[in-house]
């Protein structure tokens, strides 16, 4: 089962406690995030005092990323737009519940993820049981093993690479796609991802492993040496 929408930082559900204290752990593969600018807390403080322009600046800053998130989770343009819009409106309505224990963007991601999940569940009830264990590891061993160039992404123009990644994410089963998006694209920690989805940490890890292997396998078809651009 998914969590109900949880917007306040503290108090509404015990499941949510601890999540906000668990900021993203250092992660060797992570690139420095360009999302959190130094003035974010100033904008949030101004918005909380009723400065609508400050909130709109936050929206301007994050709307592209939040739309990518809702699009990636719902896999449906209409739902993605609705989820994004509702996420920003709910964030505005509940700004007083944000106490700065996490990054504002992380808080926003969790709201947007919940909005997206609700819509995905409506369209595909019982299609992606996040709380059930995944199958054993007998089929995990990658079969396609070929050399890549040292910087294979440079073969493609940025827009083309974005298209390839979007297609790959879209092809993943929702239960793997959601975990990959929250964990690797939105940079939530494993604990934060588990809390946001109402899953155990081990279930997140298990799905993340499969999603990452799938990602590699699908990129292999584009990146292996000798592949025509």
């Amino acid at each position: 089962m998914f969590n109900a929408i949880v917007i306040t930082e503290k108090g509404l559900t015990s499941r949510f406690l601890g999540l906000l204290d668990t900021l993203s752990a250092p992660n060797p593969h992570r690139l420095p995030s360009s999302v959190a600018r130094e003035d974010e807390h100033l904008l949030v403080a101004a918005a909380k005092k009723g400065d609508a322009t400050a909130f709109e600046e936050l929206v301007n800053r994050y709307e592209d990323k939040i739309f990518r998130l809702t699009n990636n989770i719902t896999g449906n343009h209409e739902d993605a737009e609705d989820a994004m819009q509702d996420a920003f409106l709910k964030a505005y309505a509940h700004l007083q519940d944000f106490h700065g224990d996490s990054r504002f963007y992380t808080w926003l991601v969790r709201i947007a993820a919940n909005e997206s999940l609700m819509r995905l569940r409506k369209r595909r009830p019982n299609q992606f049981p996040l709380d059930e264990p995944v199958e054993g590891d007998t089929d995990l061993m990658p079969r396609e093993l070929e050399d890549w160039d040292p910087s294979p992404e440079q073969r493609y123009a940025q827009a083309e690479l974005q298209g390839i990644l979007a297609e790959i994410i879209d092809q993943l089963d929702p239960e793997f796609r959601i975990v990959l998006v929250l964990r690797d694209l939105e940079e939530l920690s494993t604990q934060e991802t588990a809390e946001a989805l109402g899953m155990s940490v081990s279930a997140v890890k298990s799905r993340l492993l499969r999603a990452r292997l799938k990602l590699r396998e699908k990129l292999n078809r584009h990146f292996r040496r000798g592949t025509l651009n």
């Binding site: 690139l31 592209d64 940025q158 974005q162 694209l185 492993l209 590699r216 990129l219």
Partner: protein
């Protein structure tokens, strides 16, 4: 550790979440297994590329509707 063990611990290894003893064991395997080394490197690279990807700009009509809804909520006049 065998190849299957490496794949099972791949995510934890990439995230730096392995116990030191298990990490040493895994790296010992990587020292002599080209296939597993390739899988580890390519998976790391795949995640880096995903992390580094930039979101596509929000379509202008979607953006207009979003900001109209926000202004309605906040009582702000259109600029």
């Amino acid at each position: 550790m065998n190849c299957k063990g490496v794949i099972r611990e791949l995510s934890n290894y990439i995230d730096g979440d392995l116990d030191p003893s298990l990490e040493t064991e895994l790296e010992r395997h990587l020292n002599h297994c080209e296939d597993c080394t390739m899988i580890v490197d390519q998976t790391k690279k795949s995640i880096e590329i995903l992390c580094d990807s930039k979101p596509v700009e929000l379509p202008s009509d979607v953006r207009s509707r979003l900001h109209a809804a926000l202004r309605e909520k906040t009582g702000q006049k259109p600029t």
